[in-house]
């Protein structure tokens, strides 16, 4: 007898762990992604172009941008609601989720946590509405996993600051109206809120990407860029600044990566039920079912972990090590799920007609950015042994 198939995460009854409000927020984002993103994202991916300004406006109207922050036009939702939204956005495309992560968790969070009241008033409402796009520059061409070596620097000139150097792999870089840039100064690493129309600022689009093609990635160059004293984020003067923001964005990724994985798995199950070989659906073969079962287990375990870390975060208890555990596991398992799903789709699996290869390629970036898999392994290793193995 044929039973009605159940969706992978429903097998875990994940919904039973969520409040009505969390489900409502999730469903809103899910509907938006189904209607607005999924029909077009393959074309954006192929052309390497994303209508960022348009999407930012729509996401702003929904309340997605900076949703977990309070005040200044932000919705002030729970961390779990933010995480669930990331899952839905990334079920559309990791590029869309990256746009949102960078805007809300990196650029807005930096200003929200470390900015002056004037900076918050000036930037946050427009960023929450999606009128102003932000980017976040920490990584440099020569300093990725080890940002403490950064060369970008800011020197005082009377009351002003002069910024020199460059940043690499900056999401939203070429479309941003404001960049939060981290630079070395005489009093430690400081954050600067840089309007991108300031003379001396340029952004160069990075081409030939094979991953996150539906996302803008740029190099930022600062050539004797003059900033007033009011441009510096007053409340932090060390790497704690960018790391606080990264921790926030990583939290979104431990939910987000599972969205891409879920979309792959659901596609692979649908495909397997429709695709006949040897006179029956390939979903009916034991080898395929073992793949489905193993992937479902990893997806569900990842979601349980994500929600657990989310609940800790909402109680103010989540540590950065716990976020690392989540990022390490969920980015790694999502990538593994995408690969196995790709195999189930056979030749169709390599095209943009199905979302799987696109997610698979995207997840390679997700595996690397916001702390590589190795970095998070070392964080966990240090937590377990007390011994740092970074250098």
């Amino acid at each position: 007898m044929v039973k009605t198939p159940i969706k992978p995460l429903d097998l875990f009854n994940i919904d039973s762990m969520l409040s009505a409000e969390e489900i409502a927020i999730r469903d809103t984002v899910r509907k938006y992604v189904e209607k607005r993103i999924k029909p077009e994202v393959a074309d954006w991916y192929e052309s390497g172009e994303l209508p960022v300004a348009e999407l930012a406006k729509e996401l702003g109207e929904l309340g997605v941008l900076g949703m977990h922050l309070d005040g200044w036009g932000c919705a002030g939702t729970s961390a779990v609601s933010y995480g669930l939204s990331c899952t839905e956005l990334e079920a559309g495309d990791s590029g869309l989720r990256s746009l949102v992560s960078v805007q809300g968790s990196l650029a807005m969070k930096a200003i929200h946590a470390f900015g002056s009241t004037e900076q918050k008033d000036q930037w946050l409402p427009g960023m929450a509405a999606g009128d102003i796009i932000g980017c976040f520059g920490l990584t440099e061409a020569d300093f990725g996993s080890n940002p403490s070596g950064m060369r970008t620097n800011a020197k005082r000139d009377g009351g002003d600051w002069i910024l020199n150097g460059s940043k690499m792999w900056i999401t939203n870089g070429s479309v941003a109206k404001v960049a939060v840039v981290w630079a070395r100064t005489d009093d430690g690493v400081r954050g600067f809120v840089v309007p991108t129309d300031t003379p001396g600022f340029s952004a160069n689009l990075i081409h030939k990407k094979l991953s996150l093609r539906a996302s803008v990635t740029s190099e930022l160059v600062f050539d004797n860029l003059r900033l007033p004293a009011s441009a510096v984020l007053p409340e932090v003067s060390s790497l704690r600044g960018p790391l606080t923001c990264l921790n926030e964005a990583r939290f979104g990724i431990l939910f987000g990566a599972l969205g891409a994985a879920r979309d792959c798995l659901e596609s692979a199950i649908t495909y397997g039920l429709e695709r006949d070989q040897f006179d029956k659906p390939i979903a009916g073969f034991q080898l395929t079912q073992k793949k489905y079962a193993d992937m479902t287990l990893e997806l569900g375990k990842g979601m349980l972990l994500a929600i657990h870390v989310g609940r800790l975060k909402d109680q103010g208890l989540a540590t950065s090590e716990q976020v690392s555990l989540g990022k390490l596991n969920n980015a790694r398992e999502a990538l593994a799920i995408a690969r196995d799903c790709r195999s189930i789709l056979g030749a169709n699996g390599i095209t943009l007609e199905y979302p799987v290869m696109r997610h698979l390629c995207n997840l390679e970036s997700v595996f690397t950015y916001e702390g590589t898999n190795e970095m998070h392994t070392l964080v966990v290793g240090e937590a377990l042994t007390g011994l740092g193995a970074f250098r």
Partner: protein, 258 residues
């Protein structure tokens, strides 16, 4: 402009349906807002927006004090809700449902009562006009558009050939067809605000019904048997060999629709 919108909360149509012992749809699962009603909610919000002021009040009869579908409509922007929930209402037929909703709506005065043309679970399509009759209101069905003109409404009523334009004095009841407006996504501020919007809960005692006039005992309809709908035969597969367009034309011509 003050508008009442009837909102049915139904078992998720995406989930497999279960029937109870009396051949009624089992409603002991999580209920959601009937998508057909989201068009009425959207229409009401747009009319109130255009009028510049007013109120959109939701009315729902549902078991188990279910409010999640109502919260959804409140998150879209409706102002408050009235929920009639009473175990003694189980087994109500369309007319009893209409009586209950009419009584609840009739406690206040509204310029307009909106409902969907029919619900997505029961498909009787009779409740709205019964409500109109009980409230002594004129009713217009199958609206694809509503415009306010002084004390009247101009309703575009969908027909097979196109649409009729009907002028109706307010207060009136209008049923709205699906797909005529794009129901807005509730935004997160709306969702957060919906938590604290008032939902008034009423029992049949609050509405002064005797238990035998509503619910299963008051129902004049009984369902004596049910059977699965006949499954449709497989469709014809037409392979496009560059002449797909011509084949579609040929097919439509054979049906005499073009």
């Amino acid at each position: 402009m003050k508008i009442a919108v009837c909102v049915k909360q139904i078992p998720d149509p995406a989930a497999p349906a279960k029937m109870d012992a009396n051949y009624n749809l089992a409603r002991d699962t999580k209920l959601i807002m009937d998508e057909s009603d989201s068009y009425g909610v959207e229409m009401a919000l747009q009319l109130v927006d255009k009028a510049g002021a007013g109120e959109v009040v939701l009315f729902s009869m549902a078991p188990g004090e279910e409010v999640s579908g109502l919260r959804n409509a409140l998150a879209m922007g409706a102002h408050r809700a009235v929920l009639i929930s009473d175990p003694r209402l189980a087994g109500s037929d369309a007319l009893s449902t209409a009586k209950v909703l009419a009584k609840a709506i009739g406690r206040e005065s509204f310029d307009l009562v909106l409902a969907a043309t029919e619900s997505s679970d029961g498909y009787t399509g009779t409740t709205p006009v019964q409500i109109a009759e009980l409230l002594d209101l004129p009713s217009v069905t199958f609206a694809k558009g509503i415009e306010v003109k002084g004390e009247s409404l101009i309703v575009a009523r969908q027909t097979e050939a196109g649409f009729d334009e009907i002028e109706v004095p307010t207060p009136a009841l209008v049923t709205v067809t699906a797909g005529v407006v794009e129901p807005r996504y509730p935004n997160f501020k709306g969702i957060m605000a919906a938590k604290s919007k008032p939902v008034e809960k009423l029992s049949i005692d609050d509405l002064a019904f005797s238990p035998d006039s509503v619910g299963a005992s008051g129902a004049r309809e009984t369902i004596t048997s049910i059977r699965p709908a006949e499954s449709r035969g497989a469709g014809t597969v037409v392979v496009d060999e560059g002449d797909g367009f011509a084949k579609i034309i040929e097919y439509l011509e054979s049906l005499k629709v073009i």
